[in-house]
Symmetry: C2
Subunit: 259 residues, 2 copies
């Protein structure tokens, strides 16, 4: 009976959508083997994928694709393949991990408004790449340390009216965050404690949580804490994800291999 | 020969345009008799107007109009009429004098940006009445102590890029300020010193300076010092006007009456 809530959690988290297997595998390597020199033996990788209910053929295809894309590299040691992130895959994972594993308290505190001249050369998407969100044309909000264009009128943020939080929230993602929030709320209630799960199960569970979170959080800039509506589903998900990842700590690869 | 440069100054300052006589008389009372209980005897008023090259009939018509408008009130003392500002005229003059007689160093130092919500109820002109200028729709700049709408995102001003100064300068007035700047630059060179002019001449000169300045400066909000381009004709006029009014101090009414 112990595995029922776990199986239900896997089904719930896999059922949310956006679960391309290669992408799930990116989340897996990013969570379990992000460090230089960390390698996942083929049988361990297969076990984790199977625990997430991924068919072996699908896992093989995904691995093949990630090798072709230069994300993963594999070496043989005897009869065992050892898979690891390439330097490029490691660097991308490291960059993404700053967003994925940040707690709500890690969000930037100080913020600024940057107002652009009418003749601004910089595009809105270039500003978004620097961590800003557009409040409306020519007016952007971002962390105090985000680099504004040299010709911007920059103003340090202070009190925030509610309409600002509402206007800059990535509303296009609210529905998907709500879905994830509902799913996490659902599984949290009867999920076994970490001690009652195997290292393999914890690895699979973490991978599914990280994966569902990653595909949303990386689609918008990190808003300074003061600018996030506390009731926004994205903010609620953030709290749940950080709590779950703390409650189900990353197992060592050797633990998973040991069964 | 002594009066030639003075006559030329009068002609230059009267020639700028926008010289309706009743408006000139408003400037005159505002400069010479703004205080409660200050009254200008009819003959003194006539002399000053004549010194400004205003025909007696035009002065009489203007005085008549200002009495009808409730700006000036007159009482007879023997055969002499004594003219003074009404409480309304005094109150309007007092309000305007804060702008007219402020030196450049009196300009507000601290400034703010107020960003309005899309659904803002307050109109741009209501914000202008509170001392703000519009940078572009929804975004206003004003002195730190200007009262922003309650729902505005308010940010304390700091460094100012040049384009901001250019964008908020009242460009519609630049041409008229340039004309005044040229006129003042022209008369300053050979205008006799205050000691070499009669009290009557000083009164007339001040009135013409104040008048030409007043009709421009009251048409735009007082911009905080940091937001004014030092080369803007309005800023250059401001310096000239303040210097001239200091160099030609207001004569007492009794001095003028004494001839």
């Amino acid at each position: 009976m112990r595995t029922d809530p776990f199986a239900r959690a896997v089904a719930t988290l896999r059922g949310i959508g956006g679960q391309r297997v290669w992408s799930l595998m990116v989340s897996l390597f990013g969570d379990l083997a992000r460090g230089e020199g960390e390698r996942i033996p083929g049988p361990v990788l297969s076990s984790i994928m199977a625990t997430m209910d991924v068919r072996p053929e699908a896992a093989r295809v995904a691995l093949h694709r990630l090798r072709i894309d230069g994300w993963i590299t594999s070496v043989k040691e005897g009869r065992i393949s050892l898979h690891s992130l390439t330097p490029m895959g490691r660097s991308e994972s490291a960059a993404a991990s700053l967003r994925i594993y940040a707690t709500r308290d890690d969000l930037p505190r100080e913020w600024q408004v940057a107002i652009l001249p009418e003749t601004a050369q910089m595009t809105p998407s270039a500003l978004v790449a620097r961590g800003f969100v557009m409040l409306f044309p020519r007016t952007f909000i971002g962390p105090a340390d985000a680099r504004a264009p040299d010709d911007a009128l920059c103003l340090a943020g202070d009190a925030v009216p509610n309409w600002v939080r509402a206007d800059i929230a990535p509303l296009n993602l609210s529905g998907e965050y709500q879905t994830l929030h509902d799913a996490l709320s659902d599984i949290i209630t009867d999920l076994p404690r970490a001690d009652d799960l195997s290292a393999l199960q914890v690895a699979a569970l973490r991978c599914l949580i990280v994966h569902n979170w990653r595909r949303l959080v990386l689609r918008h800039p990190a808003l300074p804490r003061a600018l996030v509506d506390e009731d926004w589903p994205g903010h609620l998900c953030h709290g749940q994800v950080a709590d779950l990842l703390a409650q189900y700590p990353r197992p060592a690869l050797s633990e998973i291999a040991a069964g």
